[in-house]
Subunit: 309 residues, 2 copies
């Protein structure tokens, strides 16, 4: 339908940011790790259980001030099927606390297979007539390299089940220009991809003027961010690269419209590892440190935005 559920929550708590839950085992305080190693040995299952405990504590510390989480699928797959169980339980826990969940999977494939990914991450699957929810996120990041065949199966699930997607346009990494900045008849590929997002989203525009089809545009490229904001009036932006990757709040402001809407900014490591970066923070205060960093980030970003100042 649209990304209204996310935008509404951003408005309610005046915070257009999302906490990236990309939990490597080494980010997690030793006392939590040890608890699970004692029970299950130094196994992938123990690691995945420790990550789940960490995630839940972070969600408890953030849910009333941060509208959404963005678990990065790679960091869960890294712990095998047990990691994927932690992903699924993290999603459910965050949703129970009222958070919007964007699974960062950058999935992509052709028609029938993309339908399977859509069911896996946003929808339901039938098991002999019983409908089951595999992962059940609210939105999914996707890669549009394969064209419309890879996106249209998602449009259907967005419309019928009130979900959203974010398509990669201009990613935050240093080499993103190798392909994405190349020009097709004078237009860079990231803009061509952005135009496709406008097309894919045109029948699913919500009450804030933005569609269910968002785009990923990195905070590390503020000029392109500003160009795309102007070019794509109905496309909400998911903005990675703030903080650790070098994107500043002033540059990020270009992702927002005049009402201070239309974007959500991700921070992962700065929140996850806040307790490690503060030499005065004890490891038992990891959740408090995450909350303080989330508040600092919120205030940093909103200080540059019209409607929130």
């Amino acid at each position: 339908m649209s990304l209204d559920r996310l935008m509404k929550r951003i408005d309610e708590i005046h915070n257009p940011s999302v906490a990236g839950l990309d939990p490597k085992l080494e980010y997690i305080p030793r006392f939590i790790q040890d608890k699970f190693f004692v029970m299950k040995g130094r196994t992938l299952e123990a690691a995945a259980d420790a990550i789940l405990a960490y995630n839940k504590a972070l969600i408890d510390a953030l849910y009333d001030i941060v509208p959404a989480i963005k678990p990065q699928a790679a960091y869960y797959e890294m712990y095998g099927w047990a990691g994927m169980r932690t992903l699924s339980e993290t999603i459910r826990y965050a949703q129970k606390k009222g958070m919007f969940v964007i699974t960062d999977g950058k999935r992509n494939d052709i028609g029938a297979t993309m339908t399977a990914y859509a069911a896996a991450h946003l929808g339901t699957v039938e098991v002999d007539g019983i409908s089951q929810i595999p992962f059940g996120a609210d939105a999914l990041t996707v890669n549009g390299y394969l064209g419309s065949d890879g996106i249209t199966p998602l449009l259907d699930i967005c419309e019928k089940q009130d979900k959203g997607i974010f398509v990669l346009a201009k990613t935050s990494n240093p080499s993103s220009g190798e392909l994405q900045d190349q020009q097709i008849n004078g237009t860079p590929i990231y803009s061509v991809m952005g135009d496709m997002c406008e097309t894919w989203g045109k029948d699913q525009i919500g009450s804030y003027g933005y569609s269910a089809i968002g785009a990923v545009v990195g905070a590390t490229y503020p000029k392109q961010l500003a160009q795309l904001r102007e070019r794509l009036p109905h496309t909400m932006f998911l903005v990675p690269g703030y903080g650790a990757q070098g994107g500043g709040a002033q540059g990020v402001a270009a992702a927002f419209d005049m009402q201070g809407r239309g974007a959500v900014v991700n921070s992962s490591r700065a929140i996850l590892c806040a307790w490690k970066k503060d030499p005065n923070c004890s490891e038992t205060d990891f959740a408090g440190a995450a909350r303080r960093e989330a508040i600092r980030m919120r205030d940093d970003i909103t200080s540059y935005l019209h409607s929130f100042t």
Copy 2:
């Protein structure tokens, strides 16, 4: 290092094809499904267990005549974490039988996160000093839209642990041309991506002349297949779209070099569902039907190839 392990096995059994294990629950004979529903109800776990039993029976029927399997990650994610456990156990079982395993995940992300995907699907992960294997495939399909940052973490694992990757170049779906056929200074994007594969692979060329970095090129575009074969002398092709998607063996022959090497052709549904397509086949003969179809496909493809005729 290279894709030599795969190419050697292809030579040994004279079959350049791969069985795509994309198992939807409805492909599986009722008697297998029921066995697991009785034990675990109509749950994702029961579905995943039924799929594992089906996969093992297919592997038993194919391992001496087909060199590789290509499980499609989407169809495992569709059954949640239990589906991912089935993926992991399917990979291990096929490898024990001597098969090469290509996980079709089309993964893509930036540096640190791509390193996590590489560890997840091809490598190992450290759990407090103990090295564990999350999924452990031999090769992974990836999407190069993000540029070199998203590929270089994989080159390292390819070299050190003798693994391979296949990068999407020209995909088999009808709308693949929307982006991939667009021209950058007169060169279509699929060729630009192919050239990148040659560059990424240049230091990892094996004894057959092909590198560890392959490309995905659809059987449904035989003209582009022939162009790319000529343009990319060190890049092995993974060719989807044979059979069900309409690619014929004659067109597929263009993917191979003069020695009949340099490509591996995938078939999924035709093998998986062979028992359903033959009205005289009983459901208990599903594995036999898969084997007969795999032999028919092998003979069809090799009849067009120099070295195998």
